[in-house]
Subunit: 176 residues, 2 copies
Amino acid sequence: MKLKAFLNDYGRRVTYERGEHVFHQGDLDCFLYVIECGVLKAYYGASDGKERVKSFLLRGDIIGSLKSILTTDGCRFNLVCLDDCSLLKIEFDVLYKKSRDDLELSHEIIDFLIEFGLKKETREYEFLCLSPEERYLELLKKTPHLFDLVSQNEIAHYLGITPVGLSRIKKRVQSK
Amino acid sequence: MKLKAFLNDYGRRVTYERGEHVFHQGDLDCFLYVIECGVLKAYYGASDGKERVKSFLLRGDIIGSLKSILTTDGCRFNLVCLDDCSLLKIEFDVLYKKSRDDLELSHEIIDFLIEFGLKKETREYEFLCLSPEERYLELLKKTPHLFDLVSQNEIAHYLGITPVGLSRIKKRVQSK
DNA sequence: CATAATTTTTAACTTGGGTTAATGCCTAAA
DNA sequence: TTTAGGCATTAACCCAAGTTAAAAATTATG
């Protein structure tokens, strides 16, 4: 797997302690990060102090801010470690340029991006078509282990609801 | 632009009349479609007859079901023409295979997919962080011309609310 | 172990959007 | 110009989730 090999060869290992941020909203951060170990949370911080969780990142996942990479606006979200974490950090541009004369590498990037697109479409579908309760049940079915890794608080913010709301949904669901 | 050239060379022109479907939910359709002219609507049809609009497609846009291309589940959404339309139809697999030994083509696909990812992330952001009213205002700001092309009914379903809800939001907003 | 801090639950109250149905508006066809 | 069908608005009522605050449960820490 050329992409994995590339990330290993060119990546610089960085470690963070639980609670540390990899980057903040507004930062210009044009790196890709591969999670070697630990759990991370990518989240949008609203002006009113509310937070919304874009995604949780686990071992093997790749994360970076497309916004920061493609525009001069900086990151739209924050990336924070929920555990002590070890990441591989690679400048996006280096990978991008390398792919320009490496056919195999560029294929693997295409495959990665297609998978990424499908995931994003699925999340779009869930927000567009499912109620908070249905999204909760779906998450429970698809990634039950997530509930052991992060607080219910954070699950709620991932589902786009408040912790109070999630507590009520749980109660309603189990009484069925 | 090699991708455009490819789509033109290998694409087959197909035309549909207003109201015709290009494909339905559940169909196995592994084509990409480039919109030459006309307006189309990609939508999820819920079991209870409710519909939710995934996206509107305009001249120059490219659409296809990643789900159908990548899995055996078939399309998750419907694609229907809101006008008489002319499309270019290309088997995804032909493009994919061609990219396997064409570096320039594969770069352009990467660039396309990155842009696509950014768009999807933006829509995710809007559902996660904005209220229906805020999503309406955002749409009004970003693509005001859309309101001339499709009914308010369809705009509502794109925003994830009912036509009644959108009517109320409009009224509330203009009285501010 | 005790206590502080955080997370989760519960309660009371508010609210925005859903639902249903009636009404008014357009536009297209006859 | 009428009439029929679809679209948008309005009204009345309902309900799920938000908000605020307090209590209970869990987890961390000295």
